[in-house]
Symmetry: C2
Subunit: 194 residues, 2 copies
């Protein structure tokens, strides 16, 4: 079965294999899977403990069939009040949102919800490491950007999206690799500790 | 409607009022509500950004009724792979589990799942602030304890529970107050920074 999460991500019950396709024709929207593989790698290697938060669901009704586990029969997606990912890296708190677009030259601001950017601002004020991972799906270009920088660029922009060349100038580019698929921690080091 | 989450907490659709009862006869299992109020207070006062993670749910089927929002019609509770609470405090990552018992003299080890203690150990190794908030419901006694200390006491114990006097000796006692209901951050300071 297949359905879409509120964030637009397509859910399929079949799991994607762990080796991503590298031919252009097959490049699609797969950032979340790649991030999940990367944070699992970081956990295994004891480099960072980062988890994706569960999708928030408002539960309305639950059945308790005899001799089997509780079955939720009515529930609704809730809007998340935070970003999808957070965790600990060398004692520091890190928190990020990962988004991708099929657009080629700019990243639409509407991909980010106001409450996510507010949460990242709150984290930044509490001295956490707040950032974004942005992917241009067509070209598989990935950028790691401080959330505070993105928010400032958004607030001073008169456009509805952020041009790729502006992103490139204000972030760290990360190549898509094999293990981990997206090695974003060195970019975090450069953004926050250098 | 009412149902129980897998952690045993009773769900009721009616929200508890924000002023907790103080008479002994009414003292019950309410730690989660009190923690939620306390972290909301810390967020408002910009003292820390801590959130409760959503209950993890495995979604099996979703209906899309015309002109209304997606309705989840089949889902199951999944076991969480982390603790319930994490966040950022003065740049540091903190992570904790909050549990209460109706027992009077000792805290049962079985209240903690192995994967939760493993997660707290992982956080501790990554230099995060990993701790427990333990409440004895009958007497409303609350203790904040380093997760590593609890785990060591558990591993060297031959009992099925940790005696209250051992907990008291190895943790910081926190009184139940009004705003915030459980002011645990000063205990975190004492445990990790003094």
């Amino acid at each position: 079965m297949r359905f879409r999460y509120p964030n637009g991500k397509l859910y399929t019950s079949k799991k994607r294999t762990s080796s991503p396709s590298v031919n252009n024709g097959n490049r699609g929207m797969r950032l979340e899977d790649d991030i999940n593989e990367s944070i699992a790698y970081y956990r295994r290697e004891k480099m960072a403990v980062i988890h994706k938060k569960p999708t928030p669901v408002q539960i309305v009704n639950v059945d308790y069939p005899a001799r089997s586990r509780a079955k939720i029969t009515e529930a609704y997606f809730r809007q998340a009040s935070t970003t999808d990912y957070n965790g600990v890296y060398r004692g520091f708190y890190l928190d990020f949102e990962a988004k991708e677009t099929r657009q080629k030259q700019s990243f639409p601001f509407k991909n980010f919800h106001e409450h996510q950017l507010q949460h990242l601002t709150d984290v930044d004020e509490e001295q956490g490491l707040a950032f974004l991972i942005l992917r241009f799906a067509e070209t598989d270009e990935i950028f790691v950007m401080k959330a505070s920088v993105f928010i400032q660029l958004k607030e001073t922009s008169t456009r509805k999206s952020l041009q790729k060349q502006v992103i490139a100038k204000n972030s760290i580019a990360v190549s898509s690799g094999f293990i981990p698929t997206i090695d974003f921690l060195p970019a975090v080091d450069r953004l926050f500790f250098q």
